[in-house]
Amino acid sequence: MMGPGTTWYIAVAAVLFGIGTTGVILRRSPLIVLLSLEIMLNASNLALVGFSRQFASVDGQIFAICVMAVAAAEVVVGLGLIVAFTRRKMPLDVDTLTELRG
């Protein structure tokens, strides 16, 4: 069973990473920024899995699973922050949240 080569996997990963970057910079709602971050993490996972297939080594897949766990941790903290913002009646807009600005 010969599917598309690693080049195609990396190309799709690059396109997804570009979409995620655009979303992080473009959108103002922290929820969508988190969703775009997930797209970027998944693009890196796709590249890891593609290379793992190329070199016939499972290490890349192990790394992809670790990335998944870290992404889950990031979502927990990010959503916790967003809920905390809402409870303090702060606006959900990354441009107006400037209290920590130096």
Binding site: M1, M2, G3, P4, G5, T6, T7, Y9, I10, A11, V12, A13, A14, V15, L16, F17, G18, I19, G20, T22, L26, R27, R28, L31, I32, L35, E38, I39, N42, N45, L46, V49, G50, S52, R53, Q54, A56, D59, Q61, I62, A64, I65, C66, M68, V70, A71, A72, A73, V75, V76, V77, L79, G80, L81, I82, V83, T86, R87, L92, D95
Partner: protein, 177 residues
């Protein structure tokens, strides 16, 4: 014949992956964005399966499309799903810059692929049947990658504690309400 079928499924999954990715960043309602991300994760799982990463594909569906996205949808429902247009707020140069940066990263990787990799990247390497199976991954996690496994468990524990701390009612908030 088998090759053609693999290519057809792969291209369909890749297109749906990119399409739902664009949908995530262009919907105004965050609820629809989260639903589009579920489609994105599911089609990524198909791509993982075609790269013989069975366990990663299963974990993707269970952990991401299942657990993480349900949490996202709960929070969005709790917040009331406020609409936020993709073009709302932010200076004009930032909106153009977002596309320039996204396109630059994409083109950079693709040019590097086209010029350097050439035909060097192929998945022609022979693999055994157990490649990417849960048994193989579990064995590696408990032998070669034990440290990474343990560190991941601590990261998850810290995130769980952090989530609880962020969710607690603070003193100032208690007085205000």
């Amino acid at each position: 014949m088998g090759n053609v079928l693999v290519w057809v499924i792969w291209v369909a999954a890749a297109l749906s992956c990119i399409g739902s990715g664009i949908a995530v960043i262009s919907f105004t309602n965050p609820f629809y964005s989260a639903l589009a991300l579920i489609g994105n994760l599911a089609s990524l799982a198909v791509l993982f399966l075609l790269a013989s990463a069975e366990f990663v594909a299963a974990a993707q569906i269970l952990v991401y499309a299942g657990a993480v996205m349900v949490m996202f949808l709960f929070v969005i429902a709790y917040l009331g799903g406020r609409a936020d247009a993709p073009w709302a707020g932010g200076p004009r140069w930032l909106q153009i810059g977002a596309f320039v940066v996204g396109a630059a990263i994409m083109i950079e990787v693709i040019v590097a692929l086209a010029t350097k990799a050439g035909g060097g990247l192929s998945n022609g390497t022979e693999i055994t049947r157990s490649f990417g199976s849960p048994a193989e991954i579990g064995r590696l996690f408990l032998t070669d990658h034990l440290l990474a496994f343990e560190i991941t468990s601590i990261v998850l524990l810290i995130a769980a504690v952090g989530g609880v701390v962020l969710g607690m009612k603070t003193q100032a908030e208690g007085e205000a309400s």
